[in-house]
């Protein structure tokens, strides 16, 4: 595991919630009911997206729907604001993490 792949967020509490299966960059993962998409992704890896102008990784910033820096691609081609959308079973999300290695 590289630094980039390491989980960014650390769970401190509320870990007894029901599990929610979802898919992250093609890999089956597990989130917890009540997780935002941002939490679901960043408890597994280190980024949500890449900036369109710099190509640099981003992982959100304000967590309250203001900065617009946490929009995540779904594998169906739509976009979700990760901090204000709750994870749903079966969601398939793309962080752009592989683009750096292509």
């Amino acid at each position: 595991m590289t630094t980039m792949d390491a989980p960014l967020l650390r769970r401190l509490a509320e870990t007894g919630r029901a599990e929610v299966p979802f898919v992250l960059d093609g890999v089956p993962r597990t989130a917890l009911a009540g997780d935002t998409v941002l939490t679901a992704v960043l408890t597994h890896t280190g980024q949500l997206r890449r900036n369109e102008f710099s190509g640099a990784p981003r992982a959100g910033f304000c967590l309250m729907g203001a900065c617009q820096d946490c929009w995540v691609q779904t594998s169906e081609g739509s976009r979700l604001r990760a901090c204000s959308t709750f994870v749903q079973p079966g969601m398939s999300l793309l962080t752009g993490i592989d683009e750096a290695r292509a």
Partner: protein
């Protein structure tokens, strides 16, 4: 009047405004972008979480629970619209996007209370776009709303009351807080004591957090100048200047901010007159003591019209509702209205004390290196801003935006607007009030493009 009054924002101001309207027999529509009422300060965790109010809100647990209980009791008496973003205003109509269904609806209002709240005031530091860097408010949301810390070893940096509160909440919840780095000096806080002593409970809470952090071995350093957040694709440390030399610390996450800034886009689209408010170092929509804006039937309450804090927001929300009621011919208790105005006026001295204790770092722009990214949406640097000013002579924010795209990205300058104005002012040798403010534009937050088309097609 055929249309109901509308309140935008279900934080402390919006909930108390709704409560006052309902108490006078009026049923308002209450529109809120969040899934649950409470605003940011009293944000409620998702229903699957079980922590107590005491755990979540600490000393504010009583106030948070009271606000939540008031809202729950009101729920059947208001037309409550959660998950709903007001993204445009045309005349007396709001365009409202319901997030889960992705449908936009046009809502007519007779009168409107704007209680849009605030976000962190950000002054960028090199490396601030790295994964692992969040606003102080964002770091707090991660913990309060999701039970997560933003990293394993966290540094909190910047200034303002939230700096110590969030550090305390993190350490208390079991996170490792490596250091608190405050741009304010200890001398600033001492000098502010007389003004702040008008609100002894608030002052004592602040002192308690600092004392608790020190007692638990958290390093606290005042008088710092943040130099950079280090890291390649992830935070690996911070560097700051302590007045004598540069110092560094290893960490994997940084929470930072410099107090708060008002969310004013909606007031702007409504046509409210703005004025520069030196105490807030910002252009803010004007209002009178009764919270009437310059536009008839539009009222301003809470931190969206100037940062005064959650208690003030509750009072201002109620005061705005009483003004709204009086304007529609409903009899209200004039002595209650006067008492609220008196409480709000008394806070002004305390607020100036807070600014003295946690002063805005006025030398920030002078130290901002050319390669510093100011606009994180479009990756516009301080150097680009300066070059644009040199080449074009631009001396006003909207001109600068048109020329180099700063503030033109998805966040509409919410994150970069304060910093860009400071750089422009410094670069052109003007006081910051002279460079103006970024004008709000619809949609005030990103919405799917096809919704705009559908909505305009529906215009009669």
């Amino acid at each position: 009047m055929t249309n109901a009054p509308v309140i935008v924002g279900a934080g402390p101001a919006g909930v108390r405004a709704a409560e006052a309207l309902v108490a006078h027999g009026v049923r308002p529509m209450l529109i809120d972008e969040a899934a649950r009422a409470g605003g940011q300060i009293y944000r409620r965790q998702p229903p699957q979480f079980g922590r107590s109010s005491r755990t979540l809100y600490g000393f504010e647990a009583g106030r948070a629970a009271a606000l939540h209980q008031s809202f729950d009791a009101l729920r059947a008496h208001v037309d409550y619209r959660p998950d709903s973003l007001v993204w445009n205003v045309q005349g007396d109509q709001l365009d409202v996007l319901h997030g889960p269904s992705q449908r936009t609806q046009r809502v007519a209002f007779s009168q409107l209370i704007v209680a849009t709240g605030a976000t962190d005031r950000v002054l960028p530091v090199p490396g601030w776009t790295l994964p692992g860097v969040y606003t102080l408010g964002g770091a707090q949301v991660a913990l309060k709303f999701q039970g997560c810390a933003i990293g394993q070893r966290v540094v909190f940096m910047g200034t303002g009351p939230l700096l110590y509160l969030v550090a305390y909440q993190y350490a208390k919840a079991g996170a490792r807080v490596v250091a608190v780095l405050d741009t304010a000096r200890f001398a600033d806080q001492v000098a502010a004591l007389p003004a702040m002593s008008t609100q002894p409970a608030v002052l004592l809470k602040g002192m308690y957090y600092v004392g608790w952090l020190r007692a638990h071995g958290v390093a606290i350093q005042g008088g710092v100048r943040p130099v950079r957040v280090s890291g390649d694709e992830r935070v690996s440390g911070v560097a700051w200047h302590d007045g004598t030399r540069e110092r560094t610390l290893d960490c994997d996450a940084v929470g930072f901010g410099y107090a708060l800034r008002s969310e004013t886009q909606l007031a702007d689209l409504l046509g409210c007159r703005f004025a520069y408010a030196p105490a807030h170092r910002a252009h803010l929509p004007e209002h009178d003591a009764a919270r009437r804006s310059s536009v008839p039937d539009v009222y301003l309450a809470g931190d969206g019209a100037g940062i005064m804090g959650a208690d003030a927001a509750e009072w201002a929300g109620e005061r705005a509702a009483l003004a709204l009621l009086a304007d529609r011919g409903v009899a209200v208790d004039a002595s209650r209205a006067q008492a609220l105005e008196h409480k709000l006026a008394r806070l002004t001295g305390f607020r100036s004390g807070l600014d003295r204790a946690f002063p805005f770092p006025e030398d920030w722009a002078g130290h901002a290196p050319d390669e510093l990214v100011i606009c994180r949406c479009e990756n516009v640097t301080a150097g680009t801003l300066r070059q644009t000013v040199r080449e074009s002579g631009a001396d006003e924010m909207n001109r600068l935006k048109a020329l180099c795209r700063v503030g033109m990205g998805r966040c509409q300058g919410r994150m970069c607007g304060v910093a860009a104005a400071e750089v422009l002012a410094h670069c052109t040798g003007q006081p910051v009030q002279n460079v103006g403010r970024l004008r709000g534009q619809a949609p005030i937050k990103p919405i799917p493009m096809q919704l705009i088309v559908a909505s305009e097609g529906a215009t009669p």
